[in-house]
Amino acid sequence: MKLLVCISKVPDTTAKVAFTDGNTRYNENGVQFIINPYDEWYALVRALELKETLGGSVTVINVGKADNEQIIRKALALGADDAVRIDMDPADAWQVASQIAQYAKGGGFDIIFTGKETIDYNGGIVGGMLAELLDLPYVALAAKLDVDGTQLNIAQEMEGVKQLIKVSMPCVVSAQKGMAEARIPNMRGILASKSKPVQVIPASGDAAKSPVKVFVMPAEKQGCKMISAENPEELVQLLHNEAKVI
């Protein structure tokens, strides 16, 4: 099987969220970056499992500048065979999707994986756009994926329901919790990753369509009103009469 996994670079989940340049840019100062958890824990690991049981190869692809090399190496250390980096700093998901589509077109990939969404921009867009650009089926929000000959059996987790899907390859799948268990790279993987190929491709310019104008921090909470554990009934009164939410 030929598998392609799209990976995004995001700030570590504990990183401080702050902005610079008049709130137009995320402040990367002192921030640790990681592979987007949905991409790494679920999409990449499931792709590696499929390769291990069925044979084939796993390629990871990232749209980003040279400092993304660090997260690409991590994906290689986890077991991806090779990597592609499209050299640009994307301003929206459309740019990411159109770049990846150009690479993937005619690449013969059986499954193209993305994560459900990134934990920084929370769009959940790239997979669906890729599918449309490549004219492939798209199964979003996959929580389980098994290969059955030339087809996939997928369980999608949606609002309140689990939906079972049968789809033919090639196709695009967005992965979420349930699909696999996160792995930690071992020493051998880390050593091997250093000599694995990373192909750098120049970007070929599709303009962004929905870039960020300015970031806004949420209003601070006004402080927490404490209610005595001796009298929890008061909470119900406050929620009813003061907050008016019940």
Binding site: I119, D120, Y121, G160, L164, K209, M217, P232, E233, H240
Partner: protein
């Protein structure tokens, strides 16, 4: 002109669909597109949310979501009514369909929108709710998917006209087979759409203690949720896991019981309007993000709160 997608479930409009309809109607003149089986009454009633005309593709195959077929239908309807803007919910359907529609229509996509703070500005939550981003609303074609629970649909009066609409579907527009659907909400409101959520953490010490959470949820008509470790150890199902790596929710009331309030958990819930924290540790970080707090033992406090809610609802 704008086009809004009306999603149907068992012949009725979904709550998220009404939110999208009301949001769209407030933005400007809107035609609705309903896909699947519904009675004329149901669709005419969309007039109460500001819709003049509903295009209806009464094809029972569309009772389930096929992303390509939906995309074809939406793009054809947009052309038919001359719409340059398509609006739909950022629920699972929106996630499957909106990116395809945007590419097909060569439109800009604004996904997971919370509100429109200005005429030409779109606001969405980023960093899983730790901040917002304002995006420049393009003047050309656009697709906007609205976060669930971001806009309240209030019915006024009015009746919409319903026009039957059809599209030539090919077999290839149904490019996967839906082989089963399992209900996980047990007839309750699905978590992302719930107005009230009662959520439990590791402080509840084991799945056998979830009865007190469920009792309170039942009394409030709420959905239940949990922190990540609780889902990871298997005390609760994965789809209840809220937070930065689970689902992000936006209820009017979020009650957190025995949850410490780690940054990754807060990220998924801090867009809730009112947050209540019940924790026996006065130093729990969650209190800093809360509106109301009780420092106490959940096992003692929760049943009393449940009783008080029941009394309130009984009118006592």
């Amino acid at each position: 002109m704008q086009l809004v997608l009306v999603e149907l479930i068992n012949g009725k409009c979904k709550k998220t669909a009404l939110e999208a309809v009301a949001f769209a109607a407030k933005m400007g003149e809107t035609t609705a597109l309903a896909l699947g089986t519904a009675s004329a009454d149901t669709l005419q009633a969309l007039g109460a949310y500001g819709i003049g005309k509903v295009l209806h593709i009464n094809n029972e195959k569309l009772n389930q979501v096929y992303s390509k077929a939906y995309t074809k239908a939406i793009a054809a309807a947009a052309t038919h009514v001359g719409a340059d803007t398509v609006i739909l919910s950022h629920n699972s359907t929106g996630r499957m369909v909106a990116p395809r529609v945007a590419v097909r229509m060569e439109a800009a996509l604004f996904a997971g929108v919370n509100e429109l703070p200005g005429n030409d500005t779109i606001r969405k939550a980023v960093f899983s709710g730790k901040a917002f981003a304002d995006l420049q609303m393009s003047t050309g074609k656009k697709v906007i998917s609205l976060n669930p629970n971001s806009y309240k649909a209030v019915a006024g009066t009015g009746t919409a006209s319903v026009e039957s609409f059809s599209v030539d579907f090919a077999d290839s527009d149904f490019d996967y087979a839906i082989t089963g659907v399992e209900d996980e909400a047990g007839g309750h409101v699905p978590l992302p759409e719930a107005e009230i959520v009662v959520s439990g953490g590791r402080g509840l010490k084991g799945p056998e203690h979830w009865g007190i959470v469920e009792d309170l949820a039942k009394a409030l008509g709420a959905a239940t949720a949990c922190s990540r470790p609780v889902a990871d150890i298997g005390w609760r199902p994965h789809h209840e896991h809220v937070g930065q790596t689970g689902i992000t929710i936006k209820p009017t009331l979020y009650i957190a019981v025995g949850i410490s309030g780690a940054i990754q958990h807060l990220a998924g819930v801090n867009q809730s309007k009112v947050i209540v924290v019940i924790n026996k540790d006065p130093e729990a970080p969650f209190f800093k993000a809360a509106d109301y707090g009780i420092v106490g033992d959940a096992f003692e406090v929760l049943p009393r709160i449940t009783e008080a809610v029941k009394k309130l609802h009984a009118g006592a």
